[in-house]
């Protein structure tokens, strides 16, 4: 098994300065930080929910179990981040955040709320998402907010397997049969513009960047685009992007889809998802299981 390493974040390295005290930050910075952590927590929560819809329906039994387990991992990651918000930034408890918020209050990228579609789409979505999130967590290990850095280090550990899983399946299916390649390519064409929006910054991100609490999303987006495109091409697929003649850096040929999701602008599918995901909890709030 090959492993991935994401250690080239020269722009965002932990300096010798002490960690920031999150409680002492100005209210504008705290709000921006809440938005940022909520965005990545909501991504994990909803892709976890969508992928859990494969339980019992997976393409083969073994992958059904593996994919479901990875879905649970994501919900676990969301829980870690919701706890951070609750413990340090005054958000409701994790259940309250996950089950009592209506669609306009969710900050996930639309990629994560789209219906599962066929397995090719769900797999491709994971491949695009997992690499992006692993790179984000990797960078966040250098955050000036100590608790966030520690959480990112913990979550990154589980992303390693997710990436091994995605790469193994995508690289084989991309070169297996004409049908498998076509279905993956179709999934890629559909998911790719949405995946760019994983990097849509939350409002006021620059104050977090200058406080060295989070890396600049645009920097990570560029590095991610290079890596994911090289991988997709090696898997027999054609990303809607090309390497720049002069610099060699990959340039997307399509625009970001669904801009505004980090500020609460979502598709109808999120409303339907939340009805399914929150229904039981809301039917008896506070029930003990």
């Amino acid at each position: 098994m090959s492993e991935s390493s994401f250690e080239d974040h020269a722009e965002f390295q932990r300096s010798a300065e002490p960690y920031v005290d999150v409680r002492a930050l100005g209210s504008g910075t705290r709000e921006a930080l809440t938005r940022y952590v909520q965005a990545i927590a909501d991504d994990a929560m909803l892709i976890g929910h969508r992928d859990s819809e494969w339980t019992g329906l997976g393409p083969i039994l073994e992958e059904d179990i593996a994919f479901s387990s990875m879905a649970q991992d994501e919900i676990g990651h969301a829980l870690v981040l919701y706890r951070l918000l609750h413990d340090h930034l005054g958000a409701p408890d994790p259940d309250g955040q996950a089950f009592m918020r209506d669609a306009p209050h969710w900050r996930n990228a639309v990629l994560c709320e789209l219906p599962r579609d066929d397995y090719a789409f769900s797999l491709m979505r994971r491949a695009l998402y997992d690499l992006a999130v692993a790179m984000r967590y990797d960078a966040l290990r250098a955050s000036a907010w100590q608790e966030l850095a520690a959480a990112a280090a913990k979550l990154l550990q589980e992303k390693k397997y997710h990436i091994i899983h995605d790469r193994t399946f995508v690289s084989r299916l991309g070169r297996a049969t004409e049908e498998s390649r076509e279905r993956l390519q179709h999934a890629l064409d559909r998911a790719f513009p949405y995946s760019l929006a994983l990097w849509e910054p939350v409002e006021n991100e620059p104050v977090l960047v200058s406080a060295k609490i989070v890396p600049r999303s645009a920097d990570l987006a560029r590095q991610w685009l290079d890596r994911i495109c090289v991988f997709l091409v090696a898997s027999g697929l054609k990303p809607p992007a090309h390497p720049d003649d002069a610099t060699g850096a990959w340039v997307s040929e399509v625009a970001m889809s669904a801009v505004g999701a980090r500020a609460g602008k979502h598709s109808e599918q999120l409303v339907e998802l939340l009805a399914a995901m929150q229904g039981v909890y809301r039917s008896e709030v506070g029930a003990i299981w």
Binding site: M1, E62, A66, S69, Y161, T168, F169
Partner: protein, 159 residues
């Protein structure tokens, strides 16, 4: 055909067909998973020869230095995917530092009809540690010469 349930002689066939007494018949080592015989015959290590993916046996090592233990089996088209799937199917709960996957068609097994060869019909207790219980005491106390009092650390029979 070797390992093919349809053409393979039944235990009754084997016992009645030859003139040799039953205890001289050839040992019969079946592929552990006989449904793979078709794929085995046509292309032993190519998954497309089978109607489904190859079967792999999974062995898990809980801690370094320990034996790998058989934990189950799964289907996968090749060894790398078998390892990827084995991680979530078998190693997601208990401790694990290492996994093996082995093509099930590479495992050969004895026949349950031959299970009688493993039976012990005479006293084989000398092969077990417990078979030696009390032997040292008997050697010390018996045949004269050495008194029990002079044997430090050897428990007496009374205890």
């Amino acid at each position: 055909m070797y390992g093919d349930p349809s053409s393979e002689p039944t235990p009754e066939d084997r016992e009645t067909s030859g003139e040799m007494p039953f205890y001289t018949r050839e040992w019969h080592f079946d592929p552990y998973h006989q449904a793979l015989s078709f794929a085995r015959e046509h292309a032993p290590l190519r998954s497309e020869a089978d109607t489904e993916w190859l079967l792999w046996e999974v062995f898990q090592q809980a801690h370094r230095g320990e034996h790998h233990t058989h934990v189950g089996s799964l289907h996968a088209p090749d060894a790398e995917l078998a390892l990827v799937l084995a991680k979530e199917n078998y190693a997601r709960r208990g401790p694990c530092v290492n996994l093996w996957v082995i093509p099930a068609n590479q495992i050969h097994a004895t026949d349950y009809d031959d299970a009688d060869v493993f039976e012990h019909t005479t006293d084989k207790s000398y092969r077990e540690p417990s078979g030696y219980h009390g032997l040292r005491k008997a050697m010390i106390k018996g045949r004269g010469g050495i008194q029990p009092e002079s044997t430090v650390g050897v428990e007496s029979e009374d205890e």
